[in-house]
Symmetry: C2
Subunit: 354 residues, 2 copies
């Protein structure tokens, strides 16, 4: 199983201009594939030229949504090394998602080794302009050719990679977010804490409403009481109220973000009070009304930090920190992106150098 | 758009023996495909030989679960005609699912025309042994090659067909079902009333638990209070209590089953009292304790009726109607399968003859 064969492309693609990158539009020259067959397990790990996947129309992924994925990044340092940020956490979370979706677990060490080899093969694809990175997408899909509803007998674990542009080309712009009232992303007992396609499909409708009203993201409340804050778009959320940073506790319906965990550790290391606990939208509104809501920000791999400048709940709109990025948000952004690109010393042991 | 081209296979497959059919294992010689391109709409409807689909690994269906599907059946009558059962309802429901999943709507009449042509091309594949049928699976998948989370710009609408065996080879055997306590299938505001992959992926874990305990299906309670009955496996559920047939009302988290709707109409036509309303698991338990729980059955395209012989809730097991199929269940089964196969007069206008 620990074998990985490599077949290099004979036809390398032209690399896109850094300004044209955007997010998730271009893919590198190679991909990694590992197959699962019931009775055999995971087998035939291979790096091959990036290419289409051919599946029978009855393949279960097309029907029953049995899929999981991950997202992480590789960065170029000033000395032209490549850094991976906490990749072992992504594979641990992938296995956690696998468990919820009844997908057989992968060997996390093997997956990490495969990832390292793949990034090495496509080293030239990691962009090095400020703010750019190589976005890495590991995912697993059910491929069994059968229409019965049951956990599939065959899967493919695939890693593809996409050079991505700077999220903040014109400086960090706080976003406007809309608290969703009608639709629900996830509920306790559902799949919210797993990174599986269905959660994202379910969230599209809220995003559509936010777009229509001129907001860039949806803030999701819990599915049971429609009262407790869960996440914002594809990010975890933090509130700084009266000097304390608060983020919803991991309750089963929230994705355990790796950026979230990293932020909590950075805050603790700087002796800034941080709490993981249930927080209702009423508490947030109340804090805004009494002037103690100091900062709001989302955290995730894509943007690292996304400060929230405006929040709309029911018919009320709140401007947060004058619509500017807050001090703590800025510090967290600088610290994390500094560690990720090798500019700030990694006292946490979070990076792997290739 | 109303054009459908047909390319016949030059290499027809051998048809499987009727006893080997099972469910969803074999596929006919042809399939229907219709493409969607943003700015153009749905286009290029075609019947082609059944064949693999080739997709870029970044195709959105592999990542964000944006997919919907349907399931219906074609039956052979005694005069060797083919009957479709309420197919227009499936395409209407598909569009309802499309709306929830932010997928562009299809033209329902066109889809029905495509289906008729496809079934005609593969007429020979509709099995005619008692209880057998041709299972039809229309589905839509997001095919845009992009890793951003947003409604896709490209889709494929596909219809495949699978000859399927008799569900009840050895007579109708009541099933044992387990009331799920820990996991949730759907919640109001989520995707429960849409027929989308994520709901089925989410339900696998409950099914795994049921299997382990020797039960064949999961009975799902509502996601908010864990108290009101929703569905059982891939079926709607009915309870006959003290002469009245009760089924959970369509509340946003339950799939609006076409069999469910048909059963309600048959019951009304026979003057059997039927109610669509909220029903708690406590009411069911109470009815069992006081001896008024007369019949329990699931309804769905696959089995038409699946009588429930045993129910387990918390630590208690209930045997229903001595573990036998009830009178009303049997009548409903006979009526519906009679109409579907042309043996009982279709006074409802539900069938389309090809
Ligand atoms: C729903 C959701 N919440 C939160 C996050 C943040 O997780 P991470 O910090 O690991 O990127 C993501 C993904 O990036 C997400 O998709
Ligand atoms: C979750 C679920 N509920 C109920 C049903 C029954 O619907 P229908 O009677 O239209 O087949 C199905 C599908 O067949 C289903 O998947």
């Amino acid at each position: 199983m620990l074998d990985i064969t490599t077949q290099l492309t004979t036809n390398p693609k032209e690399k896109p201009a850094v300004d044209a990158l955007g997010f998730g539009n271009y893919f590198t020259d190679h991909m990694f594939i590992l197959d699962y067959t019931e009775g055999i397990g995971w087998h035939d790990g291979r790096i091959i030229p990036y290419q289409p996947i051919s599946l029978d129309p009855s393949a279960m992924i097309f029907h029953y949504g049995q899929s999981v994925f991950e997202g992480l990044k590789a960065y170029v340092t000033v000395d032209n090394d490549i850094l991976l940020f906490r990749p072992e956490r992504n594979f641990a979370r992938l296995n956690h998602s696998n468990d919820r979706l009844c997908i057989p677990k992968i060997d996390e060490e093997y997956a990490l080794e495969a990832l390292k080899q793949l990034v090495n093969v496509d080293r030239e694809w990691v962009p090095n302009a400020p703010g750019t990175s190589l976005y890495i997408r590991p995912f697993i899909i059910a491929t069994e050719e059968h229409l019965g509803v049951h956990p599939a007998k065959n899967y493919k674990f695939i890693i593809i990679m996409s050079p991505s542009g700077s999220y903040y080309k014109e400086g960090i712009n706080p976003v406007k977010i809309l608290v969703e009232q009608q639709f629900v992303r996830a509920v306790k007992g559902g799949t919210g804490e797993a990174k599986t396609g269905g959660n994202y499909a379910s969230a599209l409708k809220g995003q559509e409403i936010a777009d229509r009203e001129g907001y860039s993201q949806t803030l999701w409340l819990d599915g049971k009481e429609n009262r407790y804050v869960e996440e914002v778009g594809s990010m975890n959320i933090f509130f700084k109220i009266n000097g304390t940073v608060i983020t919803p506790e991991l309750n089963g319906s929230i994705l355990p973000g790796i950026t979230r965990d990293s932020m909590i550790q950075v805050l603790k290391s700087k002796n800034i009070p941080v709490e993981e606990r249930r927080i209702s939208i009423d508490e947030v509104v109340e804090a805004h009304h009494n002037g103690t809501l100091e900062e709001v920000f989302g955290t995730g791999t894509a943007a690292v930090i996304s400060p929230v400048g405006e929040l709309k709940y029911l018919e009320e709109k709140f401007t947060i920190n004058k619509g500017e990025i807050g001090e703590v948000s800025q510090m967290l952004y600088d610290t994390l992106t500094g560690i990720q690109t090798g500019k700030v010393e990694d006292t946490f042991g979070w990076t792997i150098r290739l």
